[in-house]
Structure formats: structure tokens, C-alpha cells
Symmetry: C2
Subunit: 481 residues, 2 copies
């Protein structure tokens, strides 16, 4: 890979015009650091094509010069997936100008969106048509369709509707040689070989640039009900989830597990919060159920289902939208409260759903035994087998702990997850942040296959280099050179 | 690729034992021809490993000798996908001995099956546990899990539950270098790079050997209701399907479109059949809805939904299981009746669901105009956008028509499908039968990507050669040599 030549930069500037090409430092700076401020890079220019044809031409120019491209949407990666390296050779390819919803068909339950469409804007457009795009996450005001596709994003509604992989019906993409793959037509059945749409989902821009996607819509929400539930164990929590699903069909949209310790952190650090239940419980669940417009409210069914059996220690149904929002605020403030309390290392991990209750308890015990003083704070999407397994530093430790002992804690957590057959990245991806752990734990067959696919589709290695695909081990490097 | 050396054959015989290795002509013959009798091949031996380790060792031996392998399950491919070529160099690798259901967990709704498990046996095991594997097709007594995964099989319940791609939670596979990819753990969230499980689904054995799969189960059926409906147009049929889905949620499992002409063929050629409705209708729909054990029967809701609005010209609900079976027999006898009536060319095609009613009418008119005397007989899975677009020869034509004028008709049909953004293979795959049409119409970007992936993961080209991935055009071949 090479720095772009002046001639190449001139060609790109001519192709894309002043709105689509800049080397201005002030204009580029915000896009050279990830939003959490942990990764910093440099770039030779920022390009922002307005059409797929401009993307294709820009990619062809860069391919001919061996110049690396870092695709970027809302720049909300959790793993440094959209930040260039320090060489300054790369171009940032922003999709933000391709922000058109090409079509939105409520009859067919389908929206065709360009890569730069911001998630919140898609939500609004769907709502206006009596429909809903059933994926949401905290960064919805910035995150774009292209980034959501390329990271196989999840969020709080995965339990019912699945992650992006389930919601994407087709994509349009520019491949690393500049050719256009048109897979936008939403075919429910298509057996013409390897599924390139599925291959590009979650590829983090390392196999090409997603320029548009056909996305599945569902009926708009007519009514919702939110409950806060006190429970004795994670086993009881999962049993409750199964009971709710059996009795309420697909109405349960969210089921978030919260330990008492996490709730205590929120109550201690976040102003205006109060405990939802009168007594303390070892574990809690935040449950949301929804029904489409015209259908009866899910509230009576939820009340009845929560009352059945012996699983629930205590429960309260939000009496208003304001109280429902307050319950959600408790859940969504855990990360902020934890941060205010002191240093912690965070792990976005998954295991098979039935294994999660046992894993939670046993892995927490193992980590707290091996690293005296640390406190595990594990919470999140129990029904997806996806927990934020955070480990807080011993009381009084300063932030330097994260890079030192914290890194050893992370090794141990990822070892435990791998031994349980789980994933070291449930929803955030690998990016540059998890590249080392992925190389260590990804498994020889998987890593070799990923490298082979990357090498085949992007032989010059220009697409988002240094992300997702670990370089071969040193010995192999030597043999190749 | 090379014929296996005597030493290699000896090694395989020693590895696999007499149950796992044969060169006996009588033993091999049934597996050298596809079940429809259109493709014939030769093989140097038939091997049948009993474990994934034996598969891995056999693949390593063949890789070292550059010997091609043709994986085979129930040998029920519709496109010659499991039949070796005429060279006699290949080994047939049968998965039939790996027929164990490793686990079946009704709580987790998950079955882990080895590749050789026959679909009907999985149905029985799930039923015994109060669950159901919601994919079925005519060949269920022979088709195996490995073949169903490798062809991304569909069937009659795709409308509600999707095809194999939706039902496979993870796979275990031996890659072309003999390494084992263990992706069996059913993780609902896993963002560790390119999804190799999705890549292997529908790869027709060209990227490795699927040895086991984790499969999703659903609650067993408690009650079902089957209706036969008379309709004026395909537009009315699709509108009726949407109406049923809106009013009955997920209860509608099948919605098969049948033109009057197809029903006439069945009534003329299949003994014991009778028309379900008193009068003739241009189009018909066979509808099945189902409810799980313990839930109310879907019959009242179906009766009410069929009665609403003006779409339905006439309808009858099956009064007994025998009558329900008789309705299904009408649908399932269309292919046989058509065959008895005379020669026809068949096309397993799809377009976007909302486009199918228009496509059906316009493509039929175009083909009947361009090829005087032919009669389009198009029927099938309207709700999936997947129709068997068959074209019957002019009356009195002999079977030679299929290879002559029939081939021109097929070109025209595939051209029309491609122009409509559809697929020339909705559910049967490419195999060897559709390789030429796929090369002609697959599109440069898609074909180049498929070839690159195939070359990267199977550089020696030993995995099911001559299937699915069209060879590069002649000019490119010359450059390479």
C-alpha cells in the first residue's frame, strides 16, 4: 500500500468536486479519532462521493494506485473500526452524502436506503408510513445504514427481530476492484451460489464498500408495556423469559438483565434515579413488550405471565410513558455510572443462550478469585446470550489499571468465553481494538479462511487495512517474503 | 486434478475400513446417476467416513494427491449437484454413515445433527420431543441434513419459517485443506468477521464438507386447517395472502398458487382426483394455517379472513384430514400430470414478491407470443416470489423438443427473470445443470467474486469440481495458461 500520488489526488478532486474532496485539516480532524477517543489516525484526504458510480470510480482510482481506503459512516464504531492508521497514506471514504432513502414500500415492508442514511432518519420515515425499522441503538442519531450493515449491528430489539443480518434483504456494494455488485432486489429465495450479501454483512468494510441496502420493515408499534422485575438468579431470569415467550408469543421485544450491584452504581451516581422496587433483589430484569397498531395492548398478558409460577420475587409495571422511560434510563445509565465509579475493563461477549446463566455465575467467580479485589458487573441482553461482562478495578485503583492488570483480566475473560464455545465479540465487531485477541483465540481454521477470503477479494489489501482480519503469524510472514 | 494413485486408495481403505471404502461396481452404481436420471458419472471409489475426524483425514489425503471429492447425502439434487463427472478421477464422499442426532434440546429449541441424518428422521425425533423442524420437501425420506444445508433447501413452509439459511444456527465443516471449522455453538450474536456458516450454506460442497449442523426447532403443530380458494388473478391472490397475514399473524404456513390449466392437467391425468370447487376459476390458492399444541385452532380465523372483502370468488375448507391431504395431492401432482401430458421445460425462478403477479402474467404472454403453440404452466410458492415457471411444448410435439426449441424457450425465460432483477435458481441451486445459464447471466461482479472465493478456499479445486462456480471465460483461461 502506498500514499496517494499528487496526480491521484488531483483525479479524485476532479471526479468528486469540492463537496466530495477535502484535505483541509479542520474538516478532516473530527473523522481521524473514534468517538470514544481511544484511536487516532491520519489521512491523506477525505472523500465523499455522492453516487455509487462515484464510489466505483474512486475505488478504481485507488486500486490502480494501491492506496488504502477507510470507509466511514457515522464514526460510531466501538472498536476503532473506522479510524485510519498513523501512516497518513489512507483516504477516508465517507458515505455521508449518499443519504437518500431510495424507496420505502409499506405494502412490501421494505426500505431501500443508501449507505449514508442516519438510523434515526430511517426510523422517522418508517413511522410516517405506518411501519418501523426494528433495530435501535444509542448512537441512532449518528450511525448510518452502511455502518450498521458492515458491523452487523445489534441493539435492544434483537431478541424479537434479530440483528442486521436478519433485517438486510439485499445490498449494493462496490467491490475492491471497483466493480458494482447489485444484490439489492429483495429476493426471498435465491440460490445462485455463495451469498455475497451475507458475506459483506459484518465485514467491516474490508471486502468492499456497501453503498445501499434493502431493509425489512415491520408494523409500527401501537402500544407498549415496560416492567421491572426482581429475581433471585440468572437461571430464574432465563426461565422467566421462556415463560413470557411461551405465553406472549412474539410480543416480548426486550429482556435486559441487571444485577443489584449495577443498579446500586446507577442510584449512587446518576442524579434523579430511584429504585423501582421496594426491596433489594440479587438480580433484576427490564422487560418490554409491544403490540402493533390495532392490536390489543400486551399489558394484561404481561401482568398475567409475570404472576404465574414462583419465579418472580417482585415486579412493577410502568404506569406511564415517563415511568417506562425512567426504567429504561436505569438500564442505559449503567455504563456511565460505572465510569464515574472508577476504572473497568469491558467485554462484549456471547455464549449459547442456555449456557449464559451458568457462565455468568461461574466466570464471575473465577475472575474475582483470580484477581482479588475486582468486581464483575455483568448485565445486558440475556435473551441473546450477549452480556456486557465488565470487570471493575479494585476500589481506589487509578486508570492505569486498565492497561496493566486490566489487560490480564481481559485475557482471562476471553479465555473463559472461548472455552465455553462463545464469541469474544458479540455485537461490536473486531475493528482494530480486538485484533490481537482475535488472532490469539479465533482458531486456525477460521482465521485461515478469513485471510484467504480477504486476500482473494482484496488482493492489494486496500480496503480498511488493519481491521478485522489478523495478519498471518510471523513465521508465515517470513515464508511469504 | 488427478486420479487417485493406488497408494492413496490403499491409505483411504486402511483409514476407513470395509464399511467406509468400496470400489465395488454394484455398490457404487446407484450413486453415479442423479435420481432424475439426467446426469451420469464415474468414480474411482466411494468413501463413507463415520466421524468428522475420518472426513478430515480423508480430505487431507485427497488434498495431498489433488484428487477431487464429490460430497453426497441422499443424492436428491435437482441440478446434478452430487453426480461426479465422466473422468472417473473423483471419489464420492458419502455422509450417510454420519447419521447421529448428537443432541435435541426442546427447551433451547435446538437439534445438533450430523450431515447424514435423513430429514424424515429429524422430523420424527423432533415430534417425539414436542417440537418440529419446520422445513419439509418431497424428498424428505432420502434428503440429508448435509445436503439440505449445502443447497440452502426450501420447501413448502418457507413462507413462515424461511429456508435453511434461516434455520441453521451453526455448522461444523471440514475445509478443503482438511482443517476443521467448528461453528456448531448456536450463538445468537457473533461478530467475529465473515460469517463462514452463511458462506457454507448453499455452497453445494464446493468450499468444504459440512459434517454437522445446529438446527432451530419450533413448537409442534397442534391443529391445522387447509383451504382451497378460487381467485380471478395473481394480483388478487397476493392481496389475499397479505390479508390473511395481517389478520392471522404468523399462522399461515403455506400459500400455493395454482392456475386452472394446471388443475385441469391433474384432473385429466391423475386417477381419483376431483375439482375442489363447483365452478372454474382462472386461478386457485391452496392455503394451510397451523397452530401449536395448546393454542386454539386457526380455522375460525381463516374462515373469517377468507370471508372479508371481495378478493375470494369461492372457497372451501377441508372438512377432514383426508380432504386436506386430497387438496395437497392436487398441488403435488401437477408435475406428474404435466409430464404425462407431454414434454415441458421447467424453471425454478424467483423475483421480488410484489413483482411476481405482474411477472407471471407478462412473462407468460411474452413467451407464448414468441414461441407459438407453447403453453406456460406457472404455479407454486407465490408468497416467496418463487414460481415453477414451466413451459409445455406445442401439442403433439415429441420429447426431442426439450433439447431443441425448449432450450431457446429457457434462454428467453431466464432473460426475462434476469431483466426483472430475479434469480434463475430460487431453491434448486446451480449444480452442473444451470452452470451455462449462470455463466451467461450471473453478472461480472458476482461471478468474479465467486471464482475468487472458490480459488482462495480450494486452490487445488478438489471440492465438487464442475458445480456451481462457472469456469472463467475462455479468453481469461488462455491468459492463465
Amino acid at each position: 500500500m502506498a500514499a496517494p500520488s499528487p496526480a491521484l489526488l488531483d483525479s479524485l478532486a476532479a471526479l468528486l468536486g469540492p463537496k466530495g474532496f477535502t484535505r483541509d485539516c479542520d474538516a478532516m480532524t473530527p473523522w481521524l479519532t473514534d468517538w470514544r477517543g481511544r484511536f487516532h489516525g491520519r489521512a491523506a484526504a477525505l472523500i465523499a462521493p455522492a453516487t455509487r458510480e462515484e464510489v466505483a470510480q474512486a475505488v478504481r482510482l485507488c486500486a490502480s494506485g494501491g492506496v488504502p481506503l477507510v470507509p466511514q459512516g457515522g464514526n460510531t464504531s466501538m472498536v476503532g473500526g473506522a479510524t485510519p492508521d498513523a501512516s497518513g497514506h489512507a483516504l477516508i471514504l465517507s458515505l455521508r452524502r449518499m443519504n437518500r432513502i431510495r424507496s420505502l414500500d409499506p405494502e412490501a415492508n421494505l426500505a431501500v436506503c443508501e449507505a449514508g442514511v442516519v438510523l434515526a432518519n430511517l426510523h422517522e420515515a418508517a413511522q410516517a408510513a405506518g411501519r418501523r425499522f426494528p433495530l435501535s441503538l444509542a448512537a441512532k442519531g449518528s450511525a448510518t445504514v452502511g455502518g450498521l450493515v458492515s458491523t452487523n449491528a445489534g441493539g435492544t430489539q434483537v431478541l424479537r427481530f434479530g440483528n442486521m443480518r436478519r433485517l438486510v434483504q439485499g445490498i449494493e456494494a462496490v467491490l475492491p476492484d471497483g466493480s458494482l455488485f447489485d444484490g439489492l432486489t429483495a429476493l426471498r429465495k435465491d440460490n445462485r451460489g455463495y451469498d455475497l450479501t451475507q458475506l459483506m454483512i459484518g465485514a467491516e468494510g474490508t471486502l468492499g464498500i456497501v453503498t445501499a441496502a434493502s431493509l425489512k420493515l415491520v408494523p409500527a408499534i401501537g402500544s407498549r408495556v415496560v416492567a421491572w422485575v426482581g429475581l433471585a438468579t440468572p437461571v430464574a431470569a432465563l426461565a422467566l423469559l421462556r415463560q413470557l415467550e411461551d405465553r406472549m408469543g412474539g410480543a416480548v421485544e426486550s429482556f435486559e438483565l441487571v444485577p443489584q450491584g449495577a443498579l446500586d452504581l446507577v442510584l449512587a451516581h446518576i442524579p434523579g434515579t430511584r429504585p423501582p422496587l421496594a426491596r433489594r433483589h440479587e438480580w433484576h430484569a427490564l422487560v418490554e413488550a409491544a403490540a402493533p397498531v390495532g392490536a390489543p395492548s400486551p399489558e394484561p398478558a404481561l401482568v398475567e405471565a409475570l404472576g404465574a409460577g414462583e419465579l418472580v420475587e417482585d415486579a412493577v409495571i410502568a404506569a406511564s410513558e415517563a415511568q417506562a422511560d425512567a426504567f429504561w434510563r436505569l438500564r442505559e445509565s449503567i455504563a456511565e455510572a460505572e465510569k464515574q465509579d472508577g476504572p473497568a475493563v469491558k467485554h462484549d461477549i456471547s455464549v449459547a443462550v442456555p449456557d449464559m446463566p451458568g457462565f455468568l455465575v461461574e466466570a464471575a467467580a473465577a475472575v474475582e478469585r483470580d484477581f482479588p479485589g475486582v468486581r464483575v458487573n455483568a448485565f445486558g441482553h440475556l435473551g441473546d446470550g450477549n452480556i456486557h461482562f465488565n470487570v471493575r478495578a479494585p476500589a481506589g485503583t487509578d486508570a492505569g489499571w486498565i492497561e496493566g492488570a486490566g489487560a490480564e483480566v481481559s485475557h482471562r475473560v476471553y479465555d473463559l468465553v472461548t472455552a465455553a464455545g462463545g464469541s469474544i465479540s458479540a455485537e461490536h465487531g473486531i475493528g482494530q481494538m480486538k485484533l490481537g485477541e482475535f488472532a490469539r483465540l479465533g482458531g486456525a481454521a477460521r482465521l485461515a479462511a478469513l485471510r484467504a477470503i480477504k486476500g482473494a477479494l482484496d488482493p492489494a489489501g486496500i480496503m480498511n487495512p488493519g481491521k478485522l482480519v489478523p495478519p498471518p503469524p510471523l513465521a508465515e510472514n517470513r515464508r511469504l517474503s
